[in-house]
């Protein structure tokens, strides 16, 4: 069980991908993309954790900086990643609304780009 968090991250990646491929509703597809992104968060944060249980990287006194703490850098990266994920999700949802407006159909399997003459 030394890599259990990574296993779960891989699981979330694959589950999200499976959901996207078999999706029949655009909103469902967008939510599945969110699961993939969550996999990235897990991978990053798990890489910065420390046993025996370390402290959060918040130092109220100068003495605390000498204790072992978890990695703050991955946490900063994950924060950025969360913003990116939220941004993409919002854009995709807006596209979904517009697609519904102009086609009335939200099944990704039935949306076709160009017509055959």
């Amino acid at each position: 069980m030394n890599h259990f968090p990574e296993v779960i991250a891989a699981w979330l990646f694959v589950v999200g991908l499976y959901g996207i491929v078999t999706s029949r509703h655009l909103v469902h597809l967008v939510m599945c993309l969110g699961i993939i992104q969550a996999g990235t968060y897990l991978l990053l944060i798990a890489g910065g954790y420390r046993f025996p249980p370390a402290a959060a990287p918040i130092f109220e006194t100068a003495e605390q900086t000498t204790l072992t703490s978890v990695d703050p850098i991955v946490q900063a990266l994950t924060l950025t990643d969360i913003v990116v994920g939220a941004a993409v999700t919002a854009l995709l949802l807006a596209i979904t609304i517009q697609i519904h407006k102009s086609t009335g159909n939200l099944d990704p399997q039935e949306l076709r780009l160009m017509h055959r003459p």
Binding site: T22, F51, P57, D71, I73, Q75, I97
Partner: protein
Amino acid sequence: MMERFRQIVALVLGMGLFTLLIWGWSALPNFGNYPGPNGDIVNRSARAERQVQNAVAAVVFDYRGFDTMGEEFIFLATVMGVSLLLRKPGRTTDEQAEGEQVIRKAANQPVDSNDAARTSGLVFVGLLVVLGAYVALHGHLSPGGGFQGGAIVAGGWLLIYLVGGSEMFHRLSSVVILDRVEALGVAAFILCGLVGWLLDGRFLGNWMPLGQAGRLGSAGTIFALNVLVGITVGAGFILLLREFIKHLDEVAPRRRP
């Protein structure tokens, strides 16, 4: 038929990918054995050098402040993109904002919101906004920061819609003001970086007085950028919500004749 086939292919490839990822990641250090060294250096030195209690905030706004600038622009680009996508065809968005004042008279009200519920709901709006501001202001001291605070404020604004209906929501979130606030927040972020660049060539360098760790105004530009990000993100999320709610108004009358 085709769909069945696609499902099977996805399953097979998914299992292959799952094995692959686990195989690859199994050679990483075991869980709980973060090897360093970068994070440890930050943990040991950030407080002394920047008078900041939260090392994550130090990374977000100082060590890797440039990433955060890029992230702010991703957020800005998204808000721009959503307002482009959800605009009414044939009209510019500013004209639209004026036109909506009229349409909105017929907008929907929540079904069972009596005055008591609305008043108590609005109290919670105030609470959430204050909480968000608190989280944003104390990002360099305790968990949280501009991004989290901004998102919480936007959550409070959502409550306005839930208890007060879209009319009140729209009245309290003017697109003209929020647009400017958001752009100003981002512009101020860059300008703050440029001041550092002008002073001694370090873009996004920490040029403000650092103060005393643990105080509200400490940590120099970390504090300032934190607040700016809070303003931008709050305004941006409210704008996003506004665009989505605006579209709801179009169907609402039809839904409940």
